[in-house]
């Protein structure tokens, strides 16, 4: 069953974390992932940031041995993900984008089953299942069929399942999708604890804020390729922090609004004529009230002025000059 005959091909500099070199995955004519290099030192967090169809899930599937790469090499916990796939699986935990738990079993039985399939002794599987149910706030519902669970509860159970083997390397594919703000905060806290305990974590997200909060390094993917990589501070320095957005009543004010805003800008402002909107990266310490006064003084008829956090779209705008490519349905469908 094991690929004992296959020779290992570790990427250069392989270590106990995650390393990828020239990783690519092709579905027919389409490259879902291309020339991806990753280096996640042990005990650190990598945030894979990108829209749907950017290749995040494909990358996770290759690193967790669920898919074979069409090009390149990767190692997880110092082991080749292709030639030593069976041993890689002993050292990883995966919580996929679609909660992969068994709806016809209770939460507890699900976890105990996963523990047994990690080849843990029965007593240890039982104790760890209980501990994780408690930690993830599922103890009260432990003996209820999972098919009655809400989306958020399923996600939490899925995460618990991925932790049953106490894996040194953990992969989470959009872990906070479907969680309420409280659940998201709890999850972030839990993940920080795990990382503080030495776990290496690779997570995907569509939210810059989430990557910023958790990751030591961020890799931005677009159409399967890396378009930006670096620590969050570096990325944010390129992208700028908060945005101020002004929506106008009519087209005439667009130019004068952009001019008025430039006094507060930390970078280039962006005009979207169809939406009658001007967006500007705001210099730190900018007060909204002053912006409103300046707009008023310039005679701009503004319907709305507000401040928001930078988003993935802003990252794309800053690093590629376009909005990236949200939803390439073909890649998404093929990746499934």
């Amino acid at each position: 069953m094991s690929a004992a005959g296959r020779s290992t091909a570790l990427p250069t500099g392989a270590h106990d974390g995650v390393v990828a070199e020239g990783l690519g995955k092709r579905y027919g004519e389409l490259w879902a992932l291309r020339e991806v290099d990753l280096d996640v030192p042990p005990g650190s967090v990598l945030g894979l940031l990108g829209h749907n169809g950017a290749g995040k899930t494909t990358a996770i599937r290759i690193l967790t041995t669920l898919a074979l790469p069409s090009a390149g090499r990767a190692s997880v916990a110092g082991l080749d993900v292709v030639a030593e796939a069976a041993r890689v699986r002993e050292r990883i935990g995966l919580a996929g984008q679609y909660a992969t738990v068994d709806g016809l079993l209770s939460a507890r039985v699900n976890l105990e089953m996963v523990g047994r399939l990690y080849h843990l002794p029965r007593a240890i599987a039982r104790a760890r299942a209980r501990e994780l149910l408690e930690r993830l706030g599922l103890l009260e519902k432990a003996d209820i069929l999972v098919r009655t669970f809400s989306g958020g509860m399923r996600r939490r159970l899925d995460l618990a399942a991925s932790l049953m083997g106490e894996p040194p390397v953990l992969f989470l594919d959009e872990p906070t999708t479907g969680l309420d703000p409280q659940g998201r905060n709890d999850l972030w806290t839990l993940l920080r604890e795990l990382v503080d305990g030495g776990t290496t974590l690779v997570l995907t997200t569509q939210y810059l804020e989430e990557a910023d909060r958790l990751a030591d390094n961020i890799v931005v993917l677009d159409r399967g390729r890396i378009v930006a990589a670096g620590p969050p501070e570096e990325l944010k320095a390129r992208v700028g922090g908060e945005r101020i957005e002004v929506t106008l009543a009519s087209e005439e004010g667009l130019t004068s609004a952009a001019e008025a805003l430039s006094a507060f800008a930390d970078g280039q402002s962006v005009t979207a004529p169809e939406e009658l909107r001007v967006t500007m990266p705001a210099r730190a310490g900018t007060r909204l009230v002053e912006v409103v006064r300046a707009l008023d003084a310039a005679g701009v008829d503004a319907l709305d002025v507000h401040r928001r956090e930078a988003t993935l779209d802003d990252v794309f705008l800053a690093v590629t000059g376009s909005h990236g490519s949200p939803e390439t349905p073909a890649t998404e469908a093929l990746a499934r």
């Binding site: 094991s2 996929g96 016809l104």
Partner: protein, 277 residues
């Protein structure tokens, strides 16, 4: 390159895990039946219904030489029910594949084949249950085994082998189906002609020309005739029957092995393709 903490496990350990993983997944399927007992209907209630239907409703109108109709009937119903055993694994595998749980299993250090073996073990258990229920209901309506113990045991062994072959067919069907719903349609189109254009309920000789030939070469007919012969029940074979029915035990055995030789590699390959990224 870093040293990994443990060496690869030896052969004995891997075999032990193969077995314990398969049993673990079989237990999971049994737990499912506890939640969805309907899944067991085709192994429990359905055969009883068929025994009653043919013994008391149609039975009076069907005449079989060499003994009562019920003596003839049971061999057919046993084989028919086991053929319906295709549906169980097909639906449960198709369901697992649509729910992403297979991704969870594949990311675990468990044996990859345990998923298929788990289904095989639990479905073989439910086929055995069906066999017991049918034998009991047969005895209640007056069917008897007239041969000796070795022949009777050979008859049951042949039935279990056939059940085993049908489960593999079911697993292949489940791996080929796009959705669990698709399984039912395809399975019925496959199973109905297979079990009715045969000597299951009426002797093949009573069928019109054309259908008779189909029935005579149908593996279900060979199985039913073999079981009847081994249990010492009337086979109602005309002297001019086709070769497979002249040598029912041999051809039944041949059919089972042929099905397994064809379907097992196809199933394993399809499983690899279906679960490969």
């Amino acid at each position: 390159m870093s040293e990994s903490s443990t060496a690869a496990p030896g052969l004995a350990t891997r075999l032990r895990w193969e077995l314990s993983d398969s049993l673990m997944l079989a237990r999971r399927n049994v737990a499912h039946v506890r939640q969805v007992p309907e899944r067991l209907l085709d192994a429990t209630v359905q055969p009883i219904m068929f025994v009653l239907l043919f013994a008391y409703v149609f039975g009076g109108a069907i005449h079989v030489g060499g003994g009562g109709y019920r003596e003839y009937l049971l061999g057919g119903i046993l084989v028919q029910t086991l053929t319906f055993g295709i549906i169980g694994p097909a639906i449960s595998i198709a369901t697992d594949l649509t729910e992403g749980i297979v991704d969870r299993f594949r990311s675990l250090p468990m044996s990859r084949s345990a998923f298929l073996y788990g289904h095989l073990i639990s479905d073989l258990a439910s086929a055995t249950l069906a066999l017991v229920i049918m034998t009991a209901s047969g005895l209640i309506v007056g069917w008897r085994i007239h041969s000796d113990l070795p022949h009777a045991l050979a008859g049951f062994a042949l039935l279990v082998l056939f059940a085993f072959a049908m489960l593999w067919v079911g697993m292949l069907l489940g791996l080929l189906a796009r959705t669990p719903d698709a399984v039912n349609g395809v399975a019925f189109i496959l199973i109905f002609p297979l079990t009715f254009i045969a000597n299951t309920f009426v002797p093949a000789g009573s069928l019109p020309e054309g259908l008779r030939q189909v029935a005579e070469y149908n593996p279900v007919s060979a199985l039913a005739a073999a079981v009847r012969a081994l249990f010492g029940n009337p086979t109602a074979l005309p002297s001019a029957a086709a070769w497979p029915l002249q040598h029912p035990v041999l051809s039944a055995l041949g059919w089972c092995l042929l099905i397994l030789v064809l379907v097992v590699p196809l199933t394993i390959r399809r499983y690899r393709v279906r679960t490969a990224g």
